[in-house]
């Protein structure tokens, strides 16, 4: 189990940041991802695995009028 913005999400080995974003249906492009407080650079969502028990924050910025 991991937590994403305070909500629980199932964990499986090898689950990446990209998988989490997809599962949460986070379609917004301006995201800031932190795993247990550590910033994950935007280019490496596919290659960064999320460890079991992690607290993931996926901060959405604002856009539009």
């Amino acid at each position: 189990m991991i937590s994403v913005n305070g909500e629980s999400l199932d964990w499986s080995p090898g689950k990446t940041v990209r998988d989490v974003i997809r599962e949460m249906n986070y379609r917004f492009p301006l995201l800031i991802v932190r795993i247990d407080g550590r910033l994950v650079p935007r280019g490496s969502y596919d290659s960064t695995a999320v460890p079991d028990g992690a607290e993931v924050d996926i901060i959405h910025l604002m856009s539009g009028g």
């Binding site: 249906n25 301006l30 290659s47 910025l61 539009g64």
Partner: protein, 663 residues
């Protein structure tokens, strides 16, 4: 590190690992190896014109000279940046350049670095100007590739080659963005006019150029503002259950893809033509549709140019339950033509449609209009009636607040129901976001001075998705800072989209990325550059606070500035009908249990709707308390005398007015 295939090469004996297709020049820069490069910039495609960046590449079979700025690394090669062959080649080029442009500092510096102080030749066409053009082509490439204009180009051949505007005349299409002047390495291009006579034009331009650079580098992968403008938000809002559907009853619909930004990109928007509201804007998010043939109204059958649609116009269409792109374009055009605003029109039409479906209205009352959700033709007919000031259009055109009263008085409708579903505050129609799951945003609409508009504060992601502002105090702080900050754009006549629709690369590492501190700094410089007065984030907000409080007092004087005027229709805070509740039953049941401490088991849907409503309405009142307190207002929402004096507002009649209202 990027996810693409990585490759390791050696540059001057140092190993470096980079993504495949990185150029040698870029790889060398990453490990601090200097290669002179005159015609290259990360803002434009490589051009390989100056040939100063030559290096020697050894792929194991043979060695060859290549230009490093456009040589993509695909195999593990070794590179020498200053072998004998390279230096011989480079020196010859620099000697020729130095002979031609002896006083251009950049050239003499590069020559000195390569060990050349005097050229061996004399150039018959030597140009002694220290700011001579060295024909690097950066300016015309940034104009074409970066700004999407195509204003300047090389003309002439050989020694006569130079950069020109067509016919050597001022081009009306040049937007004056200044990118060509900023990128020019010699100062050959300068901006001629400073009609507003800013205190420090350079400071203004540099701040602007930073946004331009971000647009060039990141817009494609961020919001694609230049490609589709704010239309990109349609599919995003749908994904987060925030796109208003059928008078804000729901937040998503299976037909949303039919009006997504991709549809407009592929089939409607004119391509590759940047369109900014003001000359010089390089975000250029306005979009146009050319040659659209109208199907209705006074211009039926004619081909017209349509400005838009933007997100709100699209969200307005889903709000009316119409998912037809042709309809969107047609109603966009006629709203513009009649001088109506697409937000007010669509929100009030959605209200009419719900009234029609609920039996408040029928064909007789509407004068023959059959207008349930999804009836695009009827919506257009209504639009023309409003435009002509005829029939039911005369009633509808006066807006939701008027209709609520009119329907209750003349058609016997239940005023409480109309109040619940009539999406307006202070008489202004809501813009196109579903706010039910974000208390902070309910406040953002309800407290906004001008009425139900999100442009004071758009907090839904912060509140509902990121859960960054969980307490009333957190929400109140956000409802202090953002409305003040956003008011500042209005004070200066600036658009706020360049603030948060493109993001600086290091924004994530800042303390408060939601505020985009790098851009706030840019606005401080912009203000200082124009006025000569240095600013900070706090001083900008302070400017707004004065005006904002003054506006609140203005509202008060006009009969709109108290707590009772910050009420919101319940549709914006929660499900009004059983149908709405049941469409998101799991969510609402969980909230009843976890947030309100009420076990929904055994309750009927009607009871659950009522229980949730009681809870949410209480939350909203708490929020108002917290926001008023944070802003230094009374619990009735009136700025106190103390607050006004602190802001330097001491007009006797103003103080008298707030005193009269307990301030």
């Amino acid at each position: 590190m990027d996810d693409r295939n990585m490759i390791t090469v050696e540059i001057d004996g140092k190993p470096v690992t980079v993504e495949q297709d990185t150029t040698i020049l870029e790889a060398a820069r990453r490990i601090g190896v200097f290669i002179p490069a005159l015609c290259s910039s990360d803002l434009v495609d490589p051009y390989a014109a100056c040939r100063l960046c030559v290096v020697e590449v050894d792929d194991g079979r043979r060695k060859k000279l290549v230009t490093s700025c456009n040589y993509p690394l695909r195999r593990p090669v070794s590179v020498e940046t200053s072998s004998e062959k390279v230096m011989r080649n480079r020196k010859t080029i620099l000697e020729m350049m130095l002979a031609r442009w002896p006083n251009v500092k950049l050239i003499s510096d590069l020559a000195a670095h390569a060990g050349v102080s005097e050229p061996r030749f004399i150039h018959p066409g030597a140009d002694l100007n220290p700011n001579a053009c060295v024909l690097c082509g950066l300016c015309m490439r940034i104009c074409e590739q970066g700004i999407w204009e195509n204003i300047i180009n090389f003309t002439g051949r050989g020694a006569d080659r130079s950069v020109r505007m067509p016919y050597d005349s001022r081009q009306p299409h040049c937007i004056g963005c200044g990118a060509c002047a900023e990128i020019c390495p010699t100062g050959a291009i300068t901006m001629a006019d400073d009609p507003n006579q800013p205190y420090d034009a350079e400071m203004v331009r540099r701040a602007g150029m930073r946004v331009t650079e971000e647009m060039i580098k990141y817009d494609d992968e961020q919001c694609d503002m230049r490609g589709v403008g704010t239309a990109h938000l349609v599919e995003i809002m749908d994904a987060y259950d925030l796109l208003p559907v059928m008078n804000y009853r729901f937040g998503a619909h299976e037909d949303t893809p039919k009006i997504s930004s991709d549809v407009f990109r592929q089939n409607y928007f004119s391509k590759g033509k940047p369109d900014g509201c003001w000359l010089g804007c390089t975000m250029a998010c306005a979009k146009a549709i050319e040659g659209f043939r109208l199907k209705t109204g006074p211009y039926r059958g004619e081909k017209v140019l349509v400005d838009g649609p933007e997100y709100e116009t699209l969200g307005g269409s889903s709000n009316m339950g119409v998912f037809d792109p042709d309809f969107v374009v047609e109603y966009n055009f006629y709203c513009d033509t009649y001088g109506l605003d697409t937000i007010s029109f669509s929100t009030m039409t959605a209200f009419i449609m719900e009234c029609y479906e609920a039996g408040v209205l029928d064909n007789v009352k509407t004068g023959g209009l059959e207008i349930p959700f999804g009836a695009g033709d009827a919506a257009l007919e209504l639009l023309h009636l409003i435009g002509r000031g005829e029939g039911f259009g005369l009633i509808a055109g006066r807006g939701i607040r008027y209709m609520k009263k009119y329907f209750a008085e003349n058609f016997g409708a239940d005023p409480a129901f109309l109040q619940d579903i009539g999406m307006e505050a202070k008489g202004m129609e809501y813009s196109e976001y579903v706010t039910k799951e974000s208390l902070a945003q309910q406040g953002g609409y309800g407290i906004a001075l001008k009425g139900a508009q999100h442009d004071e504060a758009w907090l839904i992601f912060m509140d509902m998705v990121n859960k960054q502002i969980p307490t009333f105090e957190d929400k109140a702080e956000a409802l202090h800072y953002f409305p003040m900050w956003r008011t500042w754009f209005g004070l200066c006549g600036l658009c706020k989209l360049p603030w948060n629709d493109v993001e600086p690369p290091d924004n994530a590492e800042t303390d408060e990325p939601a505020k985009v501190p790098g851009h706030v700094q840019g606005y401080c410089e912009f203000f200082e550059g124009v006025t000569g007065k240095p600013q900070t984030m706090d001083s900008l907000v302070r400017m707004s606070e004065k005006v904002y409080n003054f506006q609140r007092v203005f509202n008060l004087r006009m009969g709109f500035g108290r707590r009772e005027h910050d009420v919101i229709p319940y549709r914006s805070a929660g499900p009004v009908t059983v149908e709405e509740y049941e469409s998101r039953q799991e969510r609402y049941d969980a909230q009843l249990k976890e947030d309100a401490g009420i076990d929904p088991k055994g309750m009927s849907s009607v009871e659950k709707v009522a229980a949730l409503r009681k809870h949410r309405e209480k939350q909203y009142e708490h929020l108002l308390d917290a926001v008023y307190k944070r802003r230094g207002w009374t619990s009735d929402g009136v700025p106190t005398v103390e607050k006004l004096l602190d802001l330097g507002i001491d007009f006797p009649d103003v103080l008298e007015l707030v005193r009269k209202h307990g301030g």
